[in-house]
Symmetry: C2
Subunit: 326 residues, 2 copies
């Protein structure tokens, strides 16, 4: 596969393991997926019971999950709506808000722009020109933080959508407790808790946005497994505290590994690290040939790396990176 | 609980077991939930692997599920889009089609009217006056069938949305193979396969509607467990054939039981039976006091019953029904 084709295929979203296996058939298995920002050590969530999988999820159970999540977010329970992944909320918001001109802060997760374009909105750079401002905080992929004051000042003027998909490891950045009025906060479950396949996220908003969102979600938006896992995870403070400490150690270790291989760590969050490489596409290809999938971007100097999990993954990444130097 | 309050609480949707347990605290446990139309003998679906639950579902895997479902529906794979429950599609369609005047056929599942009202549409009775016609086929709760000719003739003139949530036991009614143009077909996984808690459904539509729907769903609309279960279930023809035979026997048995208790069976599908009772609210309450939840309606003469599953459930239903006659 050429560098250009690889960029084309793998720079839109992470997680394309099947495409990687098809594009690099000679790469050693199993693939190591570092192309997303999902905690490689999942929360040990209970599965839903057979009875719960068989029946429609009870609305009371869903409300209990939202209450548990709200307590973890520091937000009032009645402002918190569970959705099947924060991506689904990203896609619903443009129609819901009916905004025609939106600004999206920084170079960031591409799903926001896709959603607004699909709804026919014009995407601007400056929030001053727009009816809504979308900020990923901390930002993906560079980890840049936007101050709460700036977000609250924006929300006094226009819709301000703060995607806190990666805020669990920097909870002091969150404005979830202030959501309401024109401030809408999105949260993700699967990244920090390492269970992205369950599809669970949240929207924190005022009563009117919440009512309109619920009308568009219907009565059973979540799977029984998502509800069961979320209810357990959001009250497990000891697990979250230990996970934050472990992620901090592993993020620092990954930065050291990247630097030792000649890449320049540029930051990120504790769930992924951004790095500059003189020939990022070349590094991407060489890692892919070694069965390691990282995340390239349209900017040919950048690569993003999720955290390896098991010791063998660290070893293989280190070998693949140092091989690329030799 | 008064008859009026019970109607208010339990006539909007089925599946409100927690509310029933709270309203009738002295009822024997476990509750028997006959308030929905979900197969009480679930498909023995494999659970997703731990690895699949941890990561974002691969788009290739989602496409494979859609292909398996399309083959079961007799529809082209490129017209089939998986959604997290057909309810989610019901809620998305009004914004997607941008229609302001819709007709909804017969007295039917209330989620359709709720979704169109939430989007600001006017709901009419006659399709001739509307830009879109919604038909549940076979209809819930009375099982009424609408002929394919009538649906196709409507789709030649206006958007025609056919909700085939209960068509698996009457596959000859399906127009899934003809979907496209202005004909949109919805399918449900959880009812026939008895796994409503997984949240899986499908929209069958032409390329334009499909593209707009996918843009609103985002890249990861389904949980790993829904994908895993659906892939196995839709190719298991022997299980489906046996399930249809069993459901036919059980539906006939339920009609006999209701008739023996003085109710008048009015039809339905093989997943639920509608019956007339001189005092439906009274029957509802007496069953509820016996720990059996059936489904009342605003029409005070009607009750709907899902199928009991285990032998003990049939025994308790028979006792509760005959007790009501004594």
């Amino acid at each position: 596969m050429s560098a250009a084709a690889a960029l084309e295929t793998f720079s839109r979203h992470g997680g394309r393991l099947a495409a990687a296996a098809a594009a690099f058939p000679a790469a050693p298995r199993p693939w190591i997926d570092l192309s997303t920002g999902v905690n490689p050590r999942p929360y040990p969530a209970p599965a839903a019971t057979r009875a719960a999988r068989a029946r429609l999820p009870d609305p009371e159970t869903l409300r209990a999950l939202e209450a548990a999540a709200a307590a973890a977010f520091g937000a009032p329970a009645e402002r918190v709506t569970a959705v099947p992944g924060s991506e689904s909320a990203i896609r619903l918001l443009p129609d819901l808000l009916g905004v025609r001109r939106v600004a999206i802060a920084h170079d960031t997760y591409g799903g926001h722009a896709e959603a607004w374009r699909a709804a026919g909105a014009e995407i601007l750079r400056r929030p001053e020109d727009a009816e809504a401002w979308v900020v990923v905080n901390p930002n993906n992929p560079d980890g840049r933080a936007t101050a709460a004051d700036e977000l609250l000042a924006s929300a006094a003027i226009r819709w301000t959508v703060v995607d806190e998909a990666f805020v669990e490891t920097e909870p002091e950045l969150s404005v979830a407790a202030q959501a309401g009025g024109r401030l809408i906060v999105l949260r993700s479950f699967g990244k920090f808790f390492g269970l992205a396949g369950l599809r669970l996220g949240f929207v924190i908003a005022d009563a009117d946005v919440t009512a309109r969102l619920r009308a568009r979600l219907g009565d059973w938006p979540l799977s029984a497994d998502a509800i069961t896992a979320g209810q357990a995870a959001y009250v497990d403070t000891p697990w979250a505290d230990a996970a934050r400490k472990r992620l901090a150690r592993d993020a620092a270790r990954l930065d050291r590994l990247l630097a030792a291989a000649g890449l320049t760590p540029l930051g990120g969050t504790l769930l992924f690290r951004l790095a500059r490489a003189p020939d990022a596409a070349g590094v991407f290809l060489r890692l892919a040939h070694a069965g390691v999938l990282c995340r390239p971007f349209a900017d040919p100097r950048l690569l993003r790396f999720g955290l390896p999990g098991r010791p063998a993954e660290w070893t293989r990444l280190a070998a693949a990176l140092s091989g690329e130097r030799s």
